[in-house]
């Protein structure tokens, strides 16, 4: 790890003023919240920010439920959110996605704002030496011809097949939330979550539309009442503490056994948090059974490109989606269901 300056400003306005952006992701200063990604990458010498701006004492850690919209501070920890009744009861998919992620130790410190920005686990990004367009723009992609079992099959490019490794964002994206940010002056923004992440295309070093001096302060999540019928299915190599090989975030608005509206997010298979809108459109008005569930899964994975070790994610993704849909449909919600 290289020496860096540590600073702990007194408020959010000061934090975005002093963070010292340099223009290249990972090259300027960085915000420090839970630290579970940035400190890890600093120890690996993959990220070498010359300063860390500590936001751990700057609030932004409350959850407020006004009955329609959830207001969630960016510094809410994964553990706090997973256990919060608003998450557990109003949208189980959000709680599920959180507690199926990482380990209790990590969930106790990792924050939601940091979690949606979690960097990829691509080993060629993390090794510090392999060609990697994300870490070292223009150097190439060692993953395409390398060990790529955990990497993406959707949203990839010739320049990068890194997968987005998180879980929560794949569930969050279902509800079209708003990301609230702060910037120097009064330049803070309200960004539709679906616009936050960008596809790698020719510039995988750029992962979001956030500016380097822009801090996520919170999320506004409009939750429909039918979000209660929602699940997060995570297929993985072991029962806990493993990244998704494929995951499906599902919320269903049902009219008997017919789908009024379906929301479908994918994890473990794509370059960014992923919404499967064509599959959602297909499901509208359909009776949900194994056949339609699998067809939705097929549509969700349409256009996927497999590589030497990860082509299995295409059938796995299809079947994980189908399981998510059927599991959500089978939820017993009691009277209000």
């Amino acid at each position: 790890m290289k020496p860096f300056r540590y600073q702990a400003p007194a408020d959010v306005a000061a934090a975005v003023e002093v963070v010292e952006p340099m223009g290249l992701p990972g090259q300027g200063g960085a915000f420090l919240a839970g630290g579970t990604t940035i400190v890890d990458l600093m120890k690996l010498s993959v990220a070498s920010p010359h300063s860390l701006t500590d936001i751990r004492r700057l609030g932004m850690d409350a959850i407020r439920d006004d009955g329609g919209t959830l207001h969630v501070g960016a510094r809410t920890t994964m553990a706090e959110a997973a256990e919060h009744p608003a998450f557990r009861d109003r949208a189980p998919v959000l709680s599920d996605a959180l507690w199926k992620a990482a380990s209790p130790q990590l969930r106790n410190v990792a924050t939601l704002g940091g979690n949606v920005l979690q960097r990829t686990r691509c080993p060629y990004f993390r090794d510090g030496v392999s060609p990697c367009n994300k870490r070292d723009p223009g150097s190439g992609c060692a993953a395409i011809g390398g060990i790529n079992r955990l990497l993406a099959v959707l949203g990839t490019s010739e320049a990068c097949i890194a997968s987005y490794a998180g879980d929560f964002a794949n569930a969050l994206i279902l509800f079209d939330p708003i990301v609230e940010t702060a910037r120097p002056g009064d330049e803070g923004r309200e960004i539709p979550f679906a616009d936050l992440h960008v596809l790698p295309q020719d510039h995988p070093e750029r992962e979001t539309i956030l500016e380097d001096d822009e801090l996520i302060t919170g999320f506004r999540i409009p939750l429909p009442s039918w979000a209660r019928r929602s699940v997060y299915v995570k297929a993985r190599d072991r029962e806990s503490y493993a990244f998704a090989l494929a995951s499906a975030a599902v919320a269903l608005d049902m009219d008997g056994d017919r789908v009024r509206e379906a929301r479908l997010g994918l994890g473990g298979v794509a370059a960014t948090p992923w919404r499967a809108r064509e599959a959602e459109a297909f499901l509208r008005g359909k009776t949900l059974n194994e056949e339609t569930a699998l067809e939705a899964g097929r549509l969700a994975m349409e256009g996927a490109q497999g590589y030497a070790h990860n082509a299995f994610k295409i059938p796995l993704g299809r079947r994980t989606v189908a399981k998510g849909l059927l599991d959500a449909a089978a939820m017993d919600l009691g009277d209000a269901g």
Partner: protein
């Protein structure tokens, strides 16, 4: 005094461990230390053409940077696997500019702080003339080395196979594995004048002491190696690390103690590993299942310079009836580090193949897989024709099968599935040869009733402290809390390596003899030491006995290893008998119909291993082995990029082992067995058998559940998407 042997005593070091008071090698404080950090190669093969140290030397606090240009003066200790010495590999690090594998040590930075050492290491620039490595099976440039001298042949196996009514021929693969003990590799060297104390996680303090003496060119009596507790060894801390000599030599040159922590990532390449194998198994049987022909051939990956092989066919040939037997063995030299021991080194990979093949044969014969194994049980070693000292395989199958509920087994594929879960059951045989090794112990008792047991042996988390205290307590008739056991220090009487499941059988044999001699001197009877009476007529306040014990199979020639830093391990009971522990494992797997995720909710093992010293620590050993077997079956694989030879999952987030949630119902049954031939203690080793066969039982259950026969480890859900 009630019978202490076999009782489920808590570990006497348990409180020290859970309170953090037990000191592991890296925990020892030394005055004013410097900190070292290793630098490892980022090419898989080639030569170092240049080194730019300027930026690294500019880091404040850097004291020295060692590379091949100024390597500390070290002599080679000799490769343990070749019987030449104690070292993990046959060549010294930093000896020259050649890079033999990705992640090889090419430099070491020593600085005033750990952070400065790491920062400088990151600033060190190596310019390589790189070549394409041949790092995996099948890569162009690997060199196969057939080892005909290590093979067995009985009768004419090929002809017997061709004449058999039913035969199978199958190929299996096992993945490379990395130990990943919780305790990281480390070394602290502290010189005081001409003498040095080296704190290092070790399963063989005597070997480390003698190996370091050779490397440093000094008398071994100048060297003390300490490793009182080991935070997981698993074989990975069995032979002298390359970095330990570097650190010790650097401390000598710099005149200050030096501490090294090896990172988790570096631990994947700077120490040993379990190499990948490819195996062919051919079995011919009569219609009633009786096996006639057995052929088992293995290919094992090793480093370019060293020939390290585990040759598990040496033991698979002893399991079942066979009239005609042939084995084959080929070492495949590749651009990788030298492999080494990992729990049940030969049996873990080779029994995956054997026990998978037995299941395939049972299918071919349309026979119950338990019945096939029982039908082929033998009372004599099929290779040597000698009887077993004891063999309780059938009883293990009976007890484990009953506990598991095997009578409900229905053989048709998928016939036991429920709802979205494809359920399968599978079985396998476990075994491990009973081995022993010369050792020396010192036991003393004073008139107040305090007793000491000392041996330069090791408790690698297995319970050695506790079982040695039990043995002395029982023999002398003194309470457990009065027995003080000292291990893990090369100054103690020469013990043996903690490997090959030899420790308990060897050490207990010696301790019991020492106790008997003490009792004889004091005129007391076994288990009934009356202190007042004994010391009342004894001319001293304490009595001490030093005992060397050498397995009878070695004869007096075996004792030399106690004094020259070598190790002699022999199978139990010599030429007239074959000695093995046996077990049977039953696995239930559940495969999700949708995602194909494979889980093992139930695992039952039954093991018979002679006299059990401590029911609790023994059961823990078995359970731990079985858990690791789940990992071997479903999780563990060191992922090598064939283009570079680099390990691409060098962390415990992506090198998977089972977590608590993966292990549900897990039972180990201790099948009683009395073996009065195997050694004076009647003890068979139990450290390794638990992992043997587990992976095959799970693979067989996966087949039963899904109809997919996966002939490799690990078995992953990827393998079950056969038709997309």
């Amino acid at each position: 005094m009630s019978d202490n042997i076999g009782k489920p005593h808590d570990r006497i070091d348990g409180r020290l461990k859970v309170t953090g008071a037990a000191r592991y090698a890296a925990d020892f404080a030394v005055p004013n230390p410097l900190y070292a950090h290793l630098v490892v190669s980022t090419v898989g093969k080639g030569r170092i053409a240049g080194i730019d140290e300027a930026a690294a030397r500019a880091v404040p606090g850097v004291r020295e940077i060692y590379t091949h240009r100024n390597q500390p003066d070290l002599q080679p200790a000799g490769f343990f696997g070749a019987g030449a010495g104690q070292a993990q590999q046959g060549w010294r690090p930093l000896a020259g500019p050649d890079v033999r594998f990705y992640g090889e040590i090419v430099g070491m930075v020593v600085a005033e702080t750990l952070l400065a050492a790491r920062e400088a290491a990151a600033e060190l620039r190596f310019d390589y003339e790189a070549q394409d490595p041949a790092a995996v099976f099948g890569a162009s440039g690997v060199e196969p080395e057939p080892l005909p001298d290590r093979t067995l042949s009985v009768g004419d196996a090929d002809r017997a196979l061709s004449e058999a009514a039913t035969s199978i021929a199958r190929s299996y693969e096992t993945a490379p594995n990395t130990h990943n003990a919780m305790e990281l590799f480390a070394t602290t060297a502290h010189w005081e004048g001409e003498d040095v104390t080296v704190y290092v996680p070790s399963q063989w303090v005597k070997g480390f002491q003698f190996g370091l003496a050779t490397e440093l060119g000094i008398d071994e009596r100048r060297i003390r190696v300490r490793s009182p507790y080991v935070g997981g060894g698993f074989g990975g801390k069995g032979t002298l690390f390359t970095f330990t000599g570097l650190v010790t030599a650097a401390a000598r040159r710099l005149g200050r103690p030096v501490k090294l922590y090896v990172t988790r990532e570096q631990g994947f390449t700077v120490a040993s590993f379990r190499a990948e194998t490819e195996q062919d198994v051919k079995i011919g049987a009569a219609p009633d299942g009786l096996i006639s022909a057995f052929i088992h051939e293995g290919r094992e990956l090793t480093s370019r310079p060293d020939t390290y092989v585990v040759n598990g066919a040496e033991n698979t040939t002893r399991m079942y009836h066979a009239t005609d037997i042939r084995t084959g063995l080929t070492a495949v030299h590749a651009d990788r580090q030298t492999p080494g021991f990992m729990r049940a080194p030969p049996e873990t990979p080779y029994f995956f193949a054997l026990e998978s093949a037995m299941d395939e044969l049972a299918r071919e014969l349309d026979m119950d897989p338990v019945e096939l194994r029982i039908r082929n049980d033998v009372d004599r070693d099929p290779v040597r024709g000698v009887p077993f000292t004891s063999r309780s395989l059938v009883e293990c199958f009976r007890q484990a099968g009953e506990a598991f509920g095997w009578s409900d087994y229905t053989p048709a594929i998928g016939s036991m599935s429920e709802g979205d879960e494809l359920i399968g059951w599978g079985v396998a045989t476990s075994t491990y040869p009973t081995q022993m090794s010369p050792c020396a112990v010192r036991v003393s008792v004073d008139m107040s009733g305090e007793a000491q047991v000392q041996v330069a042996s090791h408790d690698v988390g297995t319970g050695a402290y506790t079982v040695l205290a039990q043995a002395a307590s029982q023999r002398l008739g003194l309470p457990m809390e009065r027995i003080h056991v000292e291990l893990g220090d090369s100054r103690l009487p020469p013990g043996t390596i903690a490997g090959g499941s030899v420790s308990t059988a060897s050490n207990v044999s010696a301790v019991e003899i020492a106790c008997d001699r003490i009792l004889e001197k004091l005129g007391a009877r076994r288990g009934a030491l009356d202190l007042e009476a004994a010391f009342g007529s004894f001319p001293q306040t304490a009595v001490e006995e030093y005992v060397e014990w050498v397995p009878s199979a070695l004869g007096s020639g075996g004792r030399g290893s106690l004094r020259n830093g070598s190790v002699r391990i022999v199978g139990g009971a010599g030429e007239e008998y074959a000695a093995f522990a046996f077990g049977a494992q039953f696995a239930e797997v559940r495969v999700n119909r949708w995602t194909k995720e494979i889980r093992v909710p139930r695992l039952v093992g039954a093991f018979a291993a002679g006299r059990i010293m401590n029911e609790k620590t023994a059961r823990s050993q078995y359970l731990g082995g079985m858990v690791w077997g789940v990992g071997h079956a479903l999780h563990e694989a060191t992922e090598i990029d064939p283009r570079t030879g680099a390990v691409m999952n060098d962390n415990i987030s992506e090198y998977l082992v089972p977590v608590n949630a993966d292990i549900r119902q897990l039972d180990a049954i201790l099948v009683p067995e009395v073996d009065d031939k195997v050694n004076p203690a009647g003890v068979k080793g139990i450290g390794e058998i638990g992992i043997v066969g587990t992976a095959a039982a799970i693979a067989n259950a996966v087949h039963h559940a899904t109809g997919v026969r996966v002939r490799k480890t690990p078995i992953r859900l990827d393998d079950l998407f056969t038709d997309a």
